[in-house]
Symmetry: C2
Subunit: 205 residues, 2 copies
């Protein structure tokens, strides 16, 4: 592209680095900001810098937080004997939005993925083992993506954690609520038949 | 959404104000930035603040520029007797990318749109009239969108400028090169037939 200004070119180049943002979208976003008040633009860029500089990771569950211990880990209302293991912050937010879970979390910061060069030592796994050693945990729920990386990570975690005699569970897999049978992929459908549940227990919730 | 951090919530709210960016996209962009080095994030937000604070508008053509007179207006290689009137910077960039135009520009900063409360006085129209008064301009090309606002603006500009005895032209409208007839909308197709050109002159380029 043929920019009439170096400053503009620079800002567009920075925005283009964001995931899913091409040069045209970047230009649209930057020109939008250019039309805003200086104070608004200042607030925009400060929010990013401040987030990056001041954010912390909860020293217990490693979720991002404004404090050294996150609100969930610090809460007395939560059930601290149940740990839900998730990949990242977005998963914590998604589960919190369901209002179905009252336990605490452990954020791995990724999944084991040899293809991307991510091994167990790159994730918050040792710290999970440490939490187990305290001896209060009674259940670990693996709430990871139903992908090869997710399954590999669960397999590895279970191997590391099984010496602690507690319950291990994974979130239920199957057909989504409201899902129409004809659009469900074969693997999911096949497994849902294989792992069918007694009708009475399916009514329990 | 249920944010675990006020800082995060803040940054997501700021990104959500950008056009076409919803809360989920904003979260994805912000979490991406959070994974970058502090220096990279600093560079990102500086590029925006610097652009907003330091950008200028060329005092001749009103295009955005790093200097008081833009590179195009300052260039001796350009044909300064032909002015191409456009809505905004993006149009200048689009036309420059074609490498077909050697004249100079005049950026209106918008189109007349009573629906949006934009009248002639909100646009750089008086300054265009001033440029005409210098007496050197020989052609004005209206390169505005083929919409009601574009047509209204051309109509108004022509009324203001016709006292200067020069050539006025608009960019050609019709079927796009490579366009398949069956997918062309009726208005464009109808007008292309009505404004058909002699076969010989269609070969000229």
């Amino acid at each position: 592209m043929n920019f009439s200004s170096k400053l503009l070119e620079n800002a567009v180049a920075e925005f283009s680095k964001l995931p899913g943002v091409g040069q045209k979208t970047a230009l649209r976003l930057v020109l939008h900001l250019l039309k805003q008040d200086k104070a608004d633009v200042e607030r925009f860029s400060n929010s990013v810098t401040k987030l990056r500089n001041d954010i912390q990771h909860c020293r217990t569950c490693h979720n991002i937080s404004d404090f050294t211990v996150c609100e969930i880990c610090a809460s007395r209302k939560r059930d601290h004997v149940t740990i839900c293991v998730v990949e990242d912050t977005r998963d914590v937010m998604a589960i919190e939005n369901t209002n179905q879970y009252t336990g605490v979390y452990h954020v791995l910061g990724g999944l084991i993925s040899p293809m991307d060069g991510i091994g167990p030592s790159d994730l918050e796994i040792d710290s999970l083992v440490e939490r187990m050693k305290a001896g209060e945990v009674r259940e670990v729920i693996f709430a990871l993506s139903a992908t090869m990386e997710g399954d590999t990570t669960i397999f590895y975690l279970h191997k590391r954690l099984k010496e602690f005699k507690i319950n291990f569970s994974t979130i239920a897999r199957g057909i989504a609520f409201g899902g129409e049978l004809e659009y469900v992929d074969e693997i999911t459908l096949g497994r849902s038949i294989a792992t069918r549940v007694p009708y009475e227990s399916s009514l329990s919730k």
